[in-house]
């Protein structure tokens, strides 16, 4: 089975290649269908891997040696274990659903072929990233997805702000890439290898704390930039300028989770440095609270979901930080389902209200679009972690509960719980504003089966997938953690009445949130809602501060370097000086010649006299 692994990333890449070469000769519809079949085929292969090696996957497929200079051995090799299997299933399956959904969603728009090219390339890149066997191949996938997110966010390039949003996304994530590159250099300089298993063995054998600390921090920066965690989160809200399907795939299910995957994959490196995990936990918890607080004050339907993504990712980082990477992965899986669903739903809502994103001008959509309403509601339940029936109750609340019992986790628990309350608020506020309340009719829009099937599947998933891992003390199946245990270890589980207290606290937090949300929706309709709080609406003004500091300084430095060093320094002083110097020299020499013959003759005789004197001195 392992020699077919290359098909999983290979097929979408093949689709992209076919699109690039033959794209112009086929109609966008055919290209769309071809593009959709590719992830479908790789999902089949992934399904085959589940079937044959579901129990404990450990497959390896060496395709070709990419670079081999001395110790710097990096080959294009794919490795599938539990974590990777989960990630590739999400990437391939959700990728396929998005391809299916966008057949109808984007039909008749400009640049359709380009859209499918980058979408295929993205799925391929994501699969490479997750299946890579060494840091270099991971870096390749890492940057490819960065590129695709740039291109897809700037899909409607004809408006300047969309192009700018794309560039902002790529530049900010590229800060993370630089940090990752530096971390790879440090690890290579210390341990002379790029492949995971020898690297982890070497790290375990001789943990050099300083190097690992710096490498750990750099890897964290990379993850923070990619997963849009605080403070490098500013690109995610702006990248809502791209089509909703793009947001569904890239900014919900796959790319942003790459940062979490990186932390899970390089967990041994973080574990080797004392206190590093807690830093990750803190960053996750704080981001969760921060993003949730911003989410409640947004009016653009997609920005609400964007901030919610940032906050949910915060929970995943919290999961990894408190020593429970398997829980983080579990929440990642759940989040992928319901967030993709919400974004696709939002996309349809935007079409219905013909490109108007402002939720205050929406309302009462439940009568017009019953199917959309129920699926969206399932997503909202999952987002808000409604007890028992929603999937993220089992994943997010488990993380919050585990945070409580981890040493030094009390602070994280408080932040996380507050975040949970805010999450429930913005989730149901969104739902009440868009679907409940007085009806504001939009255009009638008939969703084809291509759109209904994905929404349906994801709705079922966002309800049912949580049952993989019932919280401790509950009767239901607990197969997720044991399945991941051999690779990520079992997370600590709260016991006894502490366990009960934590579960109750989680549920109560959500219910409080829902109540507040109901009131918030009413205030919003009356015009004095939460969105008037400028501090939260502008995400604590971070975006503005960030944009006022870094780009101007960067461009000013470029101008100074250009004017000061290049024009004056090199051109004027160095070359100008040289030119004037030569000019002066020639002028001095020229003054000697004034056409008088005897002047030349006397010059010669003077030379002769001097020579004779020298000869005379010599002969003495």
């Amino acid at each position: 089975m392992s020699e077919w692994l290359f098909l999983i990333p290979g097929l979408p890449l093949l689709g992209a290649l076919l699109n690039a070469v033959f794209g112009e000769y086929f109609s966008p519809r055919k290209i769309g269908r071809m593009a959709a079949t590719m992830p479908f085929l790789s999902t089949l292969v992934v399904f085959a891997v589940w079937m044959t090696h579901g129990r404990d996957p450990n497959l390896h497929d060496q395709v070709w040696t990419w670079m081999a200079v001395g110790h710097f051995q990096a080959s294009v090799a794919f490795h599938v274990d539990q974590v990777t299997l989960v990630m590739i299933s999400i990437a391939a399956f959700v990728g396929f659903l998005i391809h299916l959904f966008s057949q109808q969603y984007l039909s008749g728009d400009y640049g359709e072929r380009r859209y499918y090219f980058y979408l295929n390339l993205f799925v391929g890149g994501m699969l490479i990233l997750t299946m890579a066997d060494n840091l270099l191949l991971l870096y390749l996938g890492w940057e490819t997805v960065g590129l695709c997110s740039y291109a897809l966010v700037a899909h409607w390039y004809r408006k300047q702000e969309n192009a700018w949003a794309g560039r902002k996304a790529f530049v900010v994530t590229r800060i993370g890439d630089t940090a990752l590159a530096l971390a790879i250099f440090i690890l290579f300089a210390e341990y002379h290898t790029l492949n995971y298993s020898p690297l982890f063995a070497a790290v375990a054998a001789s943990p050099d704390h300083l190097a690992l600390l710096i490498a750990g921090i750099l890897i964290l920066i990379a993850a923070v930039a990619k997963s849009a965690q605080f403070p490098l989160h500013i690109w995610l809200p702006d990248s809502m300028a791209g089509p909703s399907t793009v947001s569904a795939l890239i900014h919900a299910a796959t790319m942003v989770t790459a940062g979490v995957y990186l932390c899970i994959r390089l967990y041994p490196i973080f574990a080797a440095v004392p206190g590093m995990l807690w830093v990750i936990g803190l960053s996750g918890a704080f981001t969760a609270l921060y993003a949730a607080s911003c989410g409640i004050a947004q009016v653009d339907i997609k920005r609400v979901l964007a901030y919610s993504t940032i906050s949910q990712l915060g929970y995943m980082f919290l999961g990894v930080g408190i020593g429970a990477p398997s829980l983080g992965l579990f929440h990642l899986l759940v989040h992928a389902c319901f967030k993709a669903l919400l974004f696709m739903g939002a996309g349809v809502v935007i079409i219905i209200y013909n490109e108007n994103h402002d939720i205050r001008q929406m309302g009462g959509l439940k009568k017009q679009q019953p199917f959309l309403r129920w699926t969206f509601l399932a997503g909202i339940f999952a987002l808000a972690a409604v007890p028992v029936i929603s999937a993220s109750f089992y994943s997010k609340d488990a993380i919050i509960a585990t945070a409580f019992i981890v040493p030094g986790g009390k602070l994280l628990w408080v932040l996380a719980l507050l975040g949970a309350v805010f999450t429930a608020i913005y989730a149901f506020r969104l739902y009440f504003l868009v679907f409940e309340g007085p009806e504001k009719p939009g255009e009638s829009y008939q969703m084809g089966w291509g759109m209904k099937v994905p929404l349906g599947i994801l709705a079922v998933a966002s309800i049912g997938i949580g049952w993989l891992q019932f919280p401790p003390g509950w009767p239901g199946p607990k197969i997720w953690l044991p399945w991941l245990a051999p690779e990520l270890g079992m997370p600590p589980a709260p016991t006894g009445n502490v366990n009960i207290f934590l579960q109750v606290a989680g549920s109560v937090a959500t219910l409080i949130g829902i109540a507040i949300a109901y009131k918030a929706a009413q205030w919003e309709r009356e015009g004095r809602g939460l969105s008037r709080i400028a501090f939260l609406f502008n995400a604590w003004f971070f975006d503005r501060i960030f944009l006022r500091i870094f780009p101007p300084v960067w461009y000013a430095l470029a101008r100074v370097l250009d004017r000061l060093l290049e024009q004056t320094g090199f051109q004027l002083l160095l070359l100008g000086g040289l030119k004037d110097g030569f000019g002066l020299g020639s002028k001095v020499l020229e003054s000697g010649e004034d056409g008088l013959l005897s002047r030349y003759a006397s010059g010669m005789i003077l030379g002769l006299v001097v020579l004779l004197f020298v000869a005379w001195g010599y002969l003495l």
Binding site: K587, E590, S591, E593, D594, G595, L596, L597, S598, A601, S602, I605
Partner: protein
């Protein structure tokens, strides 16, 4: 007649020739000076030939005479054209070769 005496004679002739070239204004005197220089060279050539008892000294003198005659003829011809074309035959007037120092 010692070698030293011959050198003194040559030096004397040489000095007179140089004085003529440097001091006189009229080009003819310059040419006369040049002829004197030639003669000074001939004296030394002869002294050398006599000193080493070989005829080459005198052969050299013959050739020098021929050369000086040839050179002189050409110079005088040029001098005539210069007088005709450029109008002046003194050293101070003929300064056309000056380097026009353009700014």
């Amino acid at each position: 007649m010692t070698l030293e005496l011959a050198l003194v004679i040559a030096a004397l002739l040489f000095v007179v020739g140089v004085a003529l070239i440097l001091l006189r204004r009229n080009l003819i005197f310059l040419l006369l000076g040049i002829e004197l220089l030639f003669n000074a060279a001939m004296v030394i050539a002869l002294a050398g030939g006599a000193r080493w008892h070989s005829g080459t000294g005198q052969v050299l003198v013959v050739f020098m005479m021929a050369l000086s005659g040839a050179a002189l003829a050409l110079t005088l011809a040029l001098l005539l054209r210069v007088k005709h074309e450029l109008g002046g035959d003194t050293v101070d007037d003929l300064r056309q070769l000056r380097e026009e120092v353009d700014e």
